[in-house]
Symmetry: C2
Subunit: 426 residues, 2 copies
């Protein structure tokens, strides 16, 4: 494809108007929306209103008048259609780690009721570490076992000791995507329940929790949902499970009558019982406002159109890197569309010095192309990660990113000392 | 005291300049800072900067450049001097309910190590319900017992089955304050550890956790600390305990090396291990900014001066109500200074119709005096609650509030239908 072809694709892109809903730094190509989504243009004015009117002027009245108390449910209702859940089934609250603790704990409690000999949680060794830490801590508390396996071993690992299969739908490091329906079917056939982490899926790829007959799901508000740094996360539980047990973080926001101030806990019906304490309304309001972008996207084809563009963007990036940087990288992300999330990960070949991914990423950032570095596993220890958010990226952005990568390699910028100084946090 | 006397007291109030650090609605006397603190004037500009520069322009770089990752510790260091903790001992994170779960769980784990037969948690029946719910849920998970007693039964309840005494320092409903040092001493003598909830203490009354030799403490960011609706809470653990066990919400922000992305959890040293997932940075930044008010207060005498003014304000309110509304109310809050927090609670006598507290509060709000109603217990079911924040209230505000209460009673405004329509949430 020539530059003219690419510009024509942008001109014909039905999702192009969505770009104007974001405030991106001029000159930057932002390929890290899978880590922190960009700032939706409407958020600052909404935040100013939350501060001046809701907090400053109306004060405690805003629990009613501004609907603060119901905000987790209202935000959940905006997330629900993006993940194949129904209205009233999702709450936006707390963090992904904490929601995972609630969901895993409930899944273990269900197993204790139905099949007490099942006390193992299976997950992938390459899952996002906080998910594994939470599972490890729960097993430590309850006396269960966390079994970590490779991706291809999942089906074989589902023995009659397994209570829960806990997976992240799209892997944070490789961008590989599980077939949610098939994996869930296999787990159910083996007598296990599945907890899905949608951190790298919600808002990026179509998810159909009911269609896949999933059991539990959690996800993140600040990646593809663009809710701002550390925005509250979300949790969903299938209606067949939701009223069957308590989750242990049984705070007053999950009580059937929180303002009756009774000393005994009575869980609310439905997903409300997955709430715990008072939520950070300012951050939650930013997420609420950010999700309106998806209402606009819905008018232009919704998640189906976003998915088509996401695949076209990642296809174009893969082709462009192959063409412009031949032999320099091995593709870590699956080439098959059905197995690919909305990111592309590369690892340097022997053409490049060992361990150069970090410096290449820094050199790209210095040129305005923002991706990130992730330490991989023993097999692929050195990963360049690029997230492609179809809401605000153009085909020209993608082509220019690959061209910039070529320039970084041609100039051997990864050898420069300033790009090799590691920071504490990436 | 005449109005002139009162105005003179305001003129001589050394803390008076602090009032200008808040943006309060004109004409309102806000006596609900114990529920939601007022908006500090500096917050909106700081928030605009967080949104435009930190999130919008610098994006993921802000984890380093804006210090987002360390924000829980930095905010914790601002809270520490208000509660008698040392730098590095407090993190601002999650919610009070969730931090209580962490602290209680750790306290039970310590007991399991030291004295496995101690599996009871003792608390007050009149404690804030979410604290009781969290304890109840933990007991359900672990097989322990939650024993609820009246305030005067606490000492007698500390048998050799008791692992943890969990108390709120200042009662949310009555404003009664425990003697933290004496209660802690009694609990230790009985072989139990104490978890203190400082929701109605931090920023309102002097707290000395080290002086009292306390074990664990949690508290709220959005009441007297003025961090905004649902601002993150905080947690403190005595250094003698902090490295002795895990808390179960073992997410990546509590890991010794969160960016090493190792599959096994290794808790960080110190209070950092009480962190779990990514924090709501926008809400946490509001709390960070709000706490600068206490740096200004420190220059004018700090918590000692704030406490002196708080007692003077609540004394004046109690005297004024007795003088202006003779015989109409019984004081629920202790008259003794050492037993009083920073709020005054009243319950109507037989002079007024039964159950009139709610309508009186509504009538006061309609006249610009904002307190709140709380359903009490069987003995005192009907409570008017007034919080006195010495940071932004004047003596004249207090006098005027009592005068307004007198007018509401003289006009029998509590009989008006519009003040008797209960809302879902107060």
């Amino acid at each position: 494809m020539t530059l003219t072809d690419i510009q024509q694709r942008d001109a014909q892109d039905p999702l192009r108007p969505l770009r104007d809903l974001f405030d991106l730094p001029p000159g930057m190509i932002y390929l890290d929306g899978n880590s922190l989504g960009a700032l939706p243009r409407a958020v600052p004015a909404r935040m100013a209103e939350v501060l001046a009117r809701e907090w400053g002027r109306d004060l405690i009245q805003s629990w009613n008048s501004a609907g603060w108390f119901d905000l987790p449910a209202r935000v959940g209702d905006k997330i629900a259609p993006l993940i194949g859940a129904r209205a009233g089934e999702v709450v936006a609250t707390d963090t992904t780690s904490i929601n995972l603790y609630k969901a895993l704990s409930a899944a273990l409690n269900l197993a204790a009721q139905d099949a007490p000999s099942r006390r193992t949680i299976v997950s992938e060794r390459s899952n996002f570490p906080t998910d594994l830490y939470i599972a490890e801590a729960l097993c430590r508390e309850r006396g269960g076992t966390l079994k970590l396996v490779e991706s291809h071993q999942i089906a074989a690992s589902l023995g009659d000791d397994v209570a829960v299969l806990m997976l992240t739908h799209v892997n944070y490091r490789t961008g590989a995507m599980h077939d949610m329906a098939a994996v869930t079917r296999a787990a159910h056939a083996a007598g296990a329940r599945v907890v899905w982490d949608l951190a790298h899926s919600a808002g990026a790829v179509p998810v159909d929790l009911h269609g896949a007959d999933a059991d539990f799901a959690v996800g993140c508000g600040y990646k593809y949902l663009n809710g701002g740094p550390g925005a509250p996360a979300f949790v969903w539980v299938h209606p067949r499970h939701v009223d069957r047990c308590w989750q242990p973080l049984a705070g007053w926001w999950g009580h059937a009558a929180p303002f009756a101030f009774t000393p005994d806990y009575q869980p609310a019906a439905g997903i409300t019982r997955y709430q715990c304490g008072t939520q950070p309304i300012v951050s939650l309001s930013a997420l609420d406002c950010a999700l309106d972008v998806f209402a606009e996207a819905e008018k232009l084809g919704g998640m189906t159109a976003l998915r088509a563009k996401s695949l076209a963007l990642t296809d174009l990036f893969i082709e462009s890197v192959e063409q412009l940087c031949p032999g320099a990288f091995t593709l870590v992300t699956p080439l098959e569309h059905a197995q690919r999330g909305s990111q592309v990960c590369l690892t340097p070949t022997e053409q490049l010095p060992a361990g150069s991914a970090y410096a290449i990423v820094q050199a790209l950032i210095a040129r305005g192309v923002v991706g990130d570095f992730r330490a991989g596993d023993a097999e692929q220890p050195d990963i360049l990660r690029f997230g492609f958010t179809p809401l605000y990226l153009s085909y020209e952005n993608v082509r220019l990113s690959a061209q910039t990568l070529r320039e970084v390699l041609l100039n051997k910028e990864y050898e420069l000392p300033e790009f090799n100084r590691k920071r504490a946090v990436t």
